[in-house]
């Protein structure tokens, strides 16, 4: 320790302020004999003593309280103001012990009665005063350091007595409850907490298990619900009784949020799986009755049309006067309504059949990922498909162009499935392109892939819709409300097919300008 170092190499500087030369000499003698290294500087009056003290290299002051230029407590007060942490021992006469005790109350380290001083006592008192002052200073520094650490934490930190009375709160705690530490300290921990919708942790702490943790929600000043993890540690006195509890609250909302998302994700996965199984079973069950319905509604259409034609033919064989006098016009109106209903039903049945067929295709893709792979020229597949959909395009006066790179490698594909994937994309492009628009199909080589891009100048896809277009049944608003169109399964089917081929699909789109869907397949 430093004390030992001083003994061998250093000395303590003692400032002796004493007007009596005999007393001063005696003290100097005592200290000279001490094996602790003391260097005494004697000043015979207060003003010279204060001057010396202000030089800051004094370790301890020995102060006579009755000096020629000052007397009693006034003397001590002046020295204490100058001393700034240097310990002061007061020297007093036998009859003046009361004054010395008053000096102790004002901060003197100790007092010595002149007539009773011996060498051992003096040395001991000086050493003790110096050490105590040093320890106090060290404690103050370390507490200040501790306080700074605690205060600067973003965690909420408080200490409270076993009855719940708060004894300490840090800045973060004050900020959280929007009250000052003066307002909080001395109050029950519950009062501020309950105002913020927080029931404080009921922790069970004993000397055997002094730490307890609990997680709970609290409402912060911005009225947000936050998750906090409170770690409470009991502080026990020497008798083993709980004297205080320190609680540290850490904001774990982010972690809780992540946990919640994971849980939601897991639930969603389960839901999707259950839905998939249901959809598959339902599609199978729906398929047969739907086929019967569809052929029925088709037949109804044809029969209603025939009835309407026969009624009209009957009417045209009569003279206008006869027509006016029979129920023939009323019958044709009824036949017309019947026809209208039959057509509406037939269209609905077709739509439903398209959905069920696509669902079955998707289920099949999910269940049976095996592909019948053959080497193909992607361009020739694209040509077949463009021919297949060209009547649809012609209907809307949409031009269909096909381009290719000259040197195209083969790709390994399941022809039927790839045709399906391309058909879905082309039908979409036609559906979302206005009258007189243009669609280009470009087959080209890019790095280690062969790409087929379907480029339309149609209505485009809103950026908020883009991330969802490959989801089952996702259709942008316009498509959902307009008649006809697809099942909402086309793109998700296409994506599955492309993924099964270890390819990828890319989409770029701008509202009002058009969309480009590109399938990339590994080149062979």
């Amino acid at each position: 320790m430093e004390k030992e170092a001083k003994t061998s190499e250093h000395y303590f500087t003692v400032l002796l302020i004493e007007d009596n030369p005999n007393d001063a000499e005696l003290i100097q003698d005592f200290l000279a004999q001490s094996d602790v290294g003391f260097k005494v500087e004697w000043m015979s009056g207060l003003s010279v003593g204060l001057e010396r003290l202000s030089q800051r290299d004094i370790d301890v002051v020995l102060l006579d309280l009755s000096l020629p230029d000052s007397v009693g407590l006034e003397t001590f007060g002046q020295v204490a103001r100058k001393a700034r942490g240097v310990p002061i021992l007061v020297l007093t006469g036998f009859d003046d012990e009361r004054l010395a005790i008053q000096a102790l109350h004002k901060g003197a380290q100790d007092y010595l009665v002149k007539d009773k001083i011996d060498q051992h006592m003096l040395t001991h008192a000086l050493r003790y005063a110096i050490e105590r002052k040093r320890i106090e200073a060290a404690l103050r520094t370390s507490e200040a350091r501790y306080r700074a650490i605690i205060e600067d934490q973003t965690e909420l930190i408080c200490r409270f007595l076993p009855d719940g009375t708060l004894t300490f709160v840090n800045h973060a705690y004050c900020r959280f409850f929007n009250e000052t530490s003066e307002e909080l300290i001395g109050q029950p921990i519950f009062s501020a907490a309950l105002r913020h919708g927080w029931e404080p942790p009921r922790v069970s702490i004993s000397s055997a298990s002094p730490v307890a943790t609990t997680e709970l929600t609290m409402i912060n000043p911005s009225e947000e619900v936050r998750w906090y993890r409170w770690t409470s540690r009991g502080i026990f006195n020497e008798q083993g009784y709980l004297s205080e509890i320190q609680s540290v609250g850490q904001d774990i909302s982010d972690r809780k949020q992540a946990e919640k998302q994971q849980l939601e994700l897991a639930i969603e996965r389960e839901t999707v799986q259950a839905l998939r199984t249901f959809v598959e079973n339902a599609s199978h069950d729906l398929n047969t009755p739907l086929t019967i319905m569809k052929s029925g509604s088709y037949l109804s259409c044809k029969l209603a049309e025939q009835l309407l034609k026969q009624t009209i033919a009957l009417g045209t064989s009569m003279t206008p006067a006869v027509v006016a006098n029979t129920a023939i016009e009323a019958i044709s109106q009824t036949a017309m309504k019947l026809y209208q209903q039959a057509v509406a039903q037939d269209k609905a049945a077709s739509r439903l059949q398209k959905i069920v067929t696509d669902l079955l295709k998707i289920s099949e893709l999910d269940r049976n990922t095996a592909l019948d792979l053959q080497l193909h020229d992607l361009y020739s597949i694209a040509t077949t498909l463009v021919e297949l959909v060209s009547p649809l395009a012609a209907d809307k006066h949409i031009s269909l162009e096909l381009e290719r790179d000259l040197d195209l490698p083969f790709v390994s594909v399941d022809e039927d499935k790839m045709e399906q994937a391309l058909q879905n994309l082309l039908e979409n492009a036609i559906f979302y392109t206005s009258e007189g628009g243009a669609i280009r199909v470009r087959v080209y080589r890019q790095d280690q892939t062969v790409a087929v891009a379907i480029i339309d100048n149609g209505i485009g896809i809103a950026s908020e819709d883009l991330p969802h277009i490959f989801e089952h049944f996702y259709r942008v608003d316009k498509a959902r409300t307009s008649p006809g169109g697809g099942s909402g399964l086309g793109l998700s089917m296409t994506q599955k097919i492309v993924a099964a081929h270890e390819g990828r699909i890319d989409v770029q789109s701008e509202m009002g300008k058009g969309s480009t869907f590109t399938i990339f397949l590994p080149a062979k």
Partner: protein
Amino acid sequence: METEPNDKRRYSALIIDDNWFNRDIFRIALESCSYHVTQADDGVKGSDLLAKEAFDLLILDLLMPNMDGGSLLKTVRLNKAYDKLQVVVVTANAHMVTQEIQELANYVMYKPVNLQAFAQLAIRLRDAAS
């Protein structure tokens, strides 16, 4: 079943209407009067078809996207090639039938159309053309 005058040439009609159900009903009525029927769902497609094929009868709606029936009627009547074309304007909007349209069209009928009257008219026009 229906009266198909096999010995005569087939009469052809073009229906231009943006409502599929109206087109369908007119088609059925005209087919039962032995017309060969072609359809278009807007004015532009309609005039394309008129330029490509010869028709005896035009059933024309007025309120349509891409060239309305009124403008189409005016162009048709300015073109000598369509001299023999009979035009029946069928509309639900009486206020759109201007004096000019009245004069340019052979007949104007209002929706909802009395099917028997429509068929009687179609027969009369067919017989007048032969």
